[in-house]
Point group: C2
Chain length 335, copies 2
Amino acid sequence: MRKLLFVYVALIGIFMIYVYQFHFKEVTPNPWDTQGLQGDINEIYIMVTFQSGMDYWKSSLKGFEDAAQSLNVSVEYRGATQYDIQEQITVLEQAIAKNPAGIAVSAIDPFDLTETIDKAVDAGIPVVLFDSGAAESKAHSFLGTNNYNAGVTAAHEMSKLLNEEGEVAVITLPNQLNHQERTKGFQDTLEEEYPNMQVVAIEDGQGDSLFSRNVAHQLMKEYPQISGIFATEANGGVGVGDAIRLEKRVGDIQIISFDTDKGTLDLVDEGIISATLAQGTWNMGYWSLVYLFHLQHDLTEPQILQTRDTAPLPLYVDTGITIVTDENVDYYYAD
Amino acid sequence: MRKLLFVYVALIGIFMIYVYQFHFKEVTPNPWDTQGLQGDINEIYIMVTFQSGMDYWKSSLKGFEDAAQSLNVSVEYRGATQYDIQEQITVLEQAIAKNPAGIAVSAIDPFDLTETIDKAVDAGIPVVLFDSGAAESKAHSFLGTNNYNAGVTAAHEMSKLLNEEGEVAVITLPNQLNHQERTKGFQDTLEEEYPNMQVVAIEDGQGDSLFSRNVAHQLMKEYPQISGIFATEANGGVGVGDAIRLEKRVGDIQIISFDTDKGTLDLVDEGIISATLAQGTWNMGYWSLVYLFHLQHDLTEPQILQTRDTAPLPLYVDTGITIVTDENVDYYYAD
């Protein structure tokens, strides 16, 4: 009888532990149902670009993926392979057809994608724009570089390199809005804050390194006193670097360039380009996904969502600029 | 013996369930350890303002609290009770002394808080600025209204109200930067996009409703053709509203005002103010907390953090503007 009693006691004890456990689990619901920002692995967020094989997108996509991992959701990457508006429209249409949890688009053109973007928003799909916007579209937010401010940063950096005096030039794409803004920020800042510095020329480099190299040769001939050149895009910077190396004026003329492709980084590493401006591409991707997640889960100010002319998310995010020199260039090869 | 056997079988069965459960729990780690964005309830994030009793802060604090709830962390609200720089410095010093997980500051002055903000950052405390910035400080980000763009929005809204023609005036605070920017955005947009609209006067309303009322009376006398007034701050808008009611020109002169205090909302509700611009205050608070959380948990692009001139977060977030009219005014009384 004693043994049987012991068994009963043990049995009841274990049963009580079991019940206690069960009860405990019942009163404490799964924390991720009520706390923490977490989605479902079946939620698919799509990033859509153009020239989709370009290195430039890698860091944005990494940010997009990192945010997806943080939030336990899934991502897909799609893009027009060429620099082709019609192709990007088709890719975006295909993304919409999958009815994803959200789409982050970098628009090849500020106008021609608007209708397709609006179609996605009208279908109830959250859409944000990153890097290249489409201001007239219904997309909920834009995340990218404030190009005017990037030009301001370039001007301050140039003034530091030249001890606030000397003649400088700009090699740019004069017909593209983002490059006009970079040039204007550069020029305004030098005019307003550095009276001993002059912008003596603003030239078209056609986004081509060979063409830009010839423009740089010409500049050095026309303005032998020139001591700094700001290239508003990477190919121009590489061309200017080549010209300065060929004319043996390295160190004598300071170059500030844009972006962090391998060609540019190599010239920074060699000391031919003094500094290049890295865009906040990881942040563009990361916060695009976080914004889409918030739209998808209605984690926005509730009253605003019920009204017209809504602004559920911040409208515009300036992802900023980091200055890359030979001191920190190594970190950028990793991208 | 049969009974005893039954008891043994039951006992072993329950034990196996217990072991299975235990095992199951072991191989599935707590999801919030590895997935989802979630902090600890003992992490304290502090919001610091000035004139801390003002209704204006309620919505930002609500956003800050909503984000804390999403992320399972805690918040505290502190502020100088008066419009007093020294008092806000003291309050910020006290916040730093608590070594919190992060501090969101709305700076009473763009310069005088810089030293204290930098002290917090140097002590390793994440700091972001919201609503009113301190551009020279080491704070990691600024989240607020782009005032120039708010002026642009006001101009488009005014043109809609007036069918793109007529004389308009601005009542503003001509010595404060944010109000200069609102005025400039308004003026530039009308000049560039609406050739049949003219800004005939820009007057100082001194941020006072009685003074602004008298300015509005004067304006109506000097410019009897005037058909619209943009007040860049709330007291001015209330004063203009009073003047127009007194002179029985309601409907004849359109008023666009700023912010959503009760006095302004009442005049929108009565149809005396046609529209007022609501700032994205909830978003300022919400995203301030999310940014601080990301800094606290090192959820930023890793390589950038190791370099100098770092930009771990987007530098500037324009939280946007929502137009409030009699159609959606009810949603704003809730704040």
